[in-house]
Amino acid sequence: MSSDAHANARTPEEVVQYKDKMERDIYAAISKPNWKFWAALALAVTCVGIGAVSWATQIIRGLGVTGLMNPVGWGVYITDFVFWVGIAHSGTLISAILYLFRAKFRSRFNRAAEAMTIFAVLTAGLFPLIHLGRVWLFYWLLPYPNQRYLWVNFRSPLVWDVFAVSTYLTVSAVFWYVGLIPDLAIARRIKSGIQKKIYGIASLGWTGTFKEWQHYNQLYKFLAALATPLVLSVHSVVSWDFAMAVVYGWHTTIFAPYFVAGAIFSGCAMVITLMVPIRNIFSLEEYITIDDFEKLAKLLMFTGLVVSYAYMIELALAYYSGNVYEQQQFEYRLFGDYAWAYWTMILCNVISPLTLFYRPARRSLMFLWILSIPINIGMWFERFNIIVISLAKDFDPYAFGYYTPSIVEWGITIGSFGWFFMYFLIFTKTLPVLSVTELKEEVEH
């Protein structure tokens, strides 16, 4: 909240009035959408349609419609998977870790960031299924008693992934919903008609008694404490999908923290991409200030530096090891067939965040928003580089290859963006995009 508003809300009556105003302002977004919203939603749904058609094509004709071929068996789908899981991460980071650190600016972004987490995990979860080919057999990934007496291979990082990602989806959904309960109760009070009924049921009959708050506070703290190591673990497990394999460029110990930092980096960029327009469209300037965005920008800068450190260490140690295979792999990354992708990544992830050392850049929303786009792109390329480049030139020189994604893969990628934004658009019109309860709590402090 801006300091002005804080200073004005001093007398008890004014405090209550200010809280009422806050509710009105934030719930004002939950109203009949205008044509722009419908247009945006239509665009998102169209993209989902493109994705659906592409996937249908792949289901009917088989995985041959993709560009995947020996030696590159993992391509855009896995890149997209890691990308979306990465996007998901900053939601939990902003919510849980910043909650434990009692960083005030979290309450401006946590609701939207958590929503982003859930939708991004929902998107990410599709890709392993798409990549399976025979998607109707996806349940083979789950350990269940069956007539063949077979169990899944718990030593496989891919099975770890099933556990990690589904745990992540469940826990972040619970975390999000718990945070929403009191806000849903406010919606029940403010809204009327059918809306009142729906919000009433969703709020579980929350009344705001002391006992409820007491247990609620405990729960929120515990969920934050559980979600924090969970964030670290999920992207680490994703990184181990690669690092466990003995492939040059994949099998390296720094992968887990490096992926986590990268995930938070890309996720912060996505939060900026989403929150700058939301702030303008829903007129929330009073509640989300430039200062709050500046803190997010600093987080972006910091994680950008961590990612740069990891790039540097990887290159440095490949050189230091004196291992010619490792060295060649990195030479190929820097100067080989995919050099364009590698340098795009460096430009987007290493060079462009450095502009944030300049304070006016951190405080210009326009600049931040524009910057967030190349970072999203750069992080997509990071995963593409790791996955594709290492596979394209693996062990047997006879089998070296070049992978070009097919139109079906691009179609599904576009579909995934549509799928994500579709959910997000619906969210902005149905649920409060700011955590009203927490903002109100802050008025008192």
């Binding site: 008694t209 515990f222 559980l226």
Partner: protein, 141 residues
């Protein structure tokens, strides 16, 4: 008796007065517009803290145990060496156990909160008592 306050501090003064007179927090109803640490500290001087942690602990321990026991059971049920790893690959089980600890810990905490707060409360879903942004104290007197 129902007391309504706009102001947190006058609410807390009233609370303290009531508790000092020997009334237990369980005998009154307090409705707050949002959680507040000062009020929580005040009331917790007269009433025990939340028991939620036992739910979390139970869930977490169950998850941790399952995470080690279940993969061990499956590999012993059908012994099959894969990837040159021993049947009981503890480092791999750590990952599963960790995820299940978090999963069951979180779900148990959530269930615990619902149980302790007696939610969902169907009677209040559609026709709740609404006090807006005021602090409310309802006593039996």
């Amino acid at each position: 008796m129902e007391y309504r306050f706009d102001d947190k501090h006058s609410f807390m003064e009233k609370l303290e007065e009531v508790f000092k007179s020997g009334v237990k927090p369980n005998d009154v109803k307090m409705v707050l517009p949002h959680p507040d640490h000062d009020i929580e500290h005040l009331v917790e001087e007269y009433t025990p803290a939340s028991k939620l942690k036992f739910f979390t602990l139970a869930g977490g321990l169950t998850g941790c145990f399952t995470g080690f026991a279940f993969p061990s059971f499956t590999v012993l049920d059908w012994p099959l060496i894969t990837g040159g790893k021993p049947l009981l690959s503890w480092p791999a089980w750590v990952v599963i156990a960790f995820e299940l600890t978090i999963l069951l810990g979180a779900l148990a905490s959530f269930t615990g909160m619902l149980f302790l707060s007696k939610l969902p409360r169907f009677s209040k879903m559609l026709s709740p008592d609404e006090y807006g942004n005021q602090y409310v104290l309802i006593t039996d007197e």
